[in-house]
């Protein structure tokens, strides 16, 4: 058994273990036969949403890291995460207006927020692609993404500031930015499954292009890679994945950075391996963190997105330290 094969088995075991544990852990007592089905359904939805958010972020991380040829790139680099957050905040601020009878009948009320996130992310993506044009350099894309992020974050900051004068709205916005996957239901799953699962599958069609891009744009082009097309679609799929992740899980940080980084030494840098590995690894990581969020006794709300970072940063540091000791800076 080689290192890579073993890694796949471990990934699958950790993921399966997380799924089983995730179904068993919660406030409710599963021996209560009347409620068992309800509890399991709740936990299954929560589990599914956690896994999808993690998978989307980790896969998005692999895509941008390949695109920018930088293992420190994170999916939020394109500005779509900030755009999605802003979209959510705008919807929250308009919540009363939107819910006062003018709510479209076809849209479940709980999807108003996710749809706001998606629209925000897509608007950010359109802006990014319009500003950078057809064949802008990677640096232009990077700078534009950074500036769009800053812009959206500051507009979000303005909204938060205005909202703080309204106690309930202020609380709602803070809760939204720290929100996790609890209470997410089948509507959220139905929204995210195609975007994350099929999105990753289709994004895999660029795996070899991204491998080629590791050698630099000129060399990639010389061996037949349509660099403009790779860039366009890597951006579009990253945006789609992160939008889905924010829509169902809020701001979950660090997954897109840490999971691919942790996996590279084991499965290698080739995208055909790395993307599916990151998909599983991201799902497993967020599912386990969400279990942690459930079992740690706290008075208030333990925000999933903050805990991923609290747990992720030490793991990341450990990996870095180990890599540095072994003289292998992946």
């Amino acid at each position: 058994m080689n290192r890579s094969g073993l890694t796949w088995i471990i990934l699958l075991l950790v993921l399966t273990g997380g799924m089983i544990t995730g179904l068993l852990v919660g406030d409710g007592d599963l021996s209560d036969l009347a409620l068992r089905e309800t509890y399991l359904k709740l936990r299954l939805w929560r589990l599914g949403n956690a896994g999808l958010a993690g998978a989307a972020l980790a896969t998005g991380g692999v895509l941008v890291q390949g695109l920018f040829r930088n293992p420190l790139a994170s999916p939020s680099i394109l500005g779509t995460t900030a755009g999605a957050s802003l979209g959510g905040m705008v919807v929250l601020s308009l919540w009363n207006v939107l819910l006062a009878g003018s709510m479209p009948a076809w849209l479940p009320a709980e999807l108003l927020l996710p749809v706001g996130c998606l629209l925000g992310a897509w608007l950010a993506l359109m802006l990014l692609m319009t500003v950078t044009g057809r064949d802008a350099s990677v640096i232009t894309v990077l700078l534009t993404g950074f500036i769009l992020s800053s812009l959206f974050l500051s507009v979000g900051g303005l909204l938060t500031s205005f909202a703080s004068e309204d106690f309930e709205l202020g609380r709602a916005i803070v809760a939204f930015t720290l929100r996790g996957v609890e209470a997410k239901g089948r509507h959220h799953l139905a929204l995210a499954v195609p975007m994350v699962v099929l999105g990753t599958a289709v994004a895999m069609s660029w795996a070899r292009h991204l491998d080629a891009l590791l050698t630099g744009e000129d060399e990639a082009r010389s061996i037949g890679v349509d660099v403009v097309a790779v860039r366009r679609w890597a951006i579009i799929w990253t945006a789609t994945l992160t939008a889905a992740a924010v829509a169902i899980g809020g701001n979950i940080s660090f997954v897109g950075l840490m999971v691919p980084h942790a996996l590279r030494p084991f499965v290698g840098v080739e995208h055909r391996q790395l993307m599916p590995a990151a998909f599983l690894g991201g799902a497993a990581f967020v599912i386990w963190v969400d279990i942690l969020v459930r079992v740690v006794p706290t008075r208030g709300h333990l925000p999933l997105g903050v805990v991923t970072r609290l747990v992720g940063a030490p793991i990341f540091l450990y990996l870095l330290a180990r890599a540095a000791r072994e003289g292998r800076m992946a």
Partner: protein
Amino acid sequence: MSPPSIGQRGLAVTGLRVRHRHGPEVVHGVDLQAHPGEVMGLVGPNGAGKTTVLKAMVGLLPSAGTITLDGQDLSQLSARERAHRVAYVPQRTALTAPLSVRSVVDLGRFAHRSSWSRPSAHDRAVVSQALEDANVADLAERPFSTLSGGERQRVLLARALATQAPVLLLDEPTSALDVRQVLLLHTILRTLAQRGSIIIAVLHDLAEVREHTDRAVLLQDGQVQYTGPTPEVVALEPVRAAYGVDLIERAGLAYRLPTGGGVA
């Protein structure tokens, strides 16, 4: 898609003009012809535009003028189709990721299969042959990032060989090589030429050009100053005009591979 048959006309560059993005024109109407079976050296002083001309031929820089292979305009082709015809060995690579040597060479097969398919038996055979030919078979499983400069350059050559393109363009392929590796490289290039490839290499060392190329193009200030059989181009007058130095014909140190091939 099978590689196009190599006609008699070879690679023809006519009126090639290259302008830097938002900058001045640096190549002013270069014409050159390269024929199957010959190794061409592209020489000239620093800043003459050698690399620029080469990159324009690969399609990496936007250019005016026409570049045809056997009468077919290369600018009309997609990146993928072009990669079937023209292979490129850069001076140095931007690759820093720990991709294995075999994977790097396998990238040369990029244009030969679809995005989804795994390498075919033919792909694998071609890659193995390229590794052998470039003398890097023993490095196949090593991560590229751990190689020395010379090893890297040979791997890049192997990748170009794996494309099986009839035109091979090399940018200072010997700059990081020791004498033995230089000789090995030229042996490989000669073999390819004998099989009917068109080889154009940007070279720095005029002695090397004299020794290993059939024809040479001397560029200066983005224009072709001299072109012809190598002994006529790398000669007293052209060299004095382009470089401002006198060429002294004298026996110096020379190297050759031991008889029996000497390919390790």
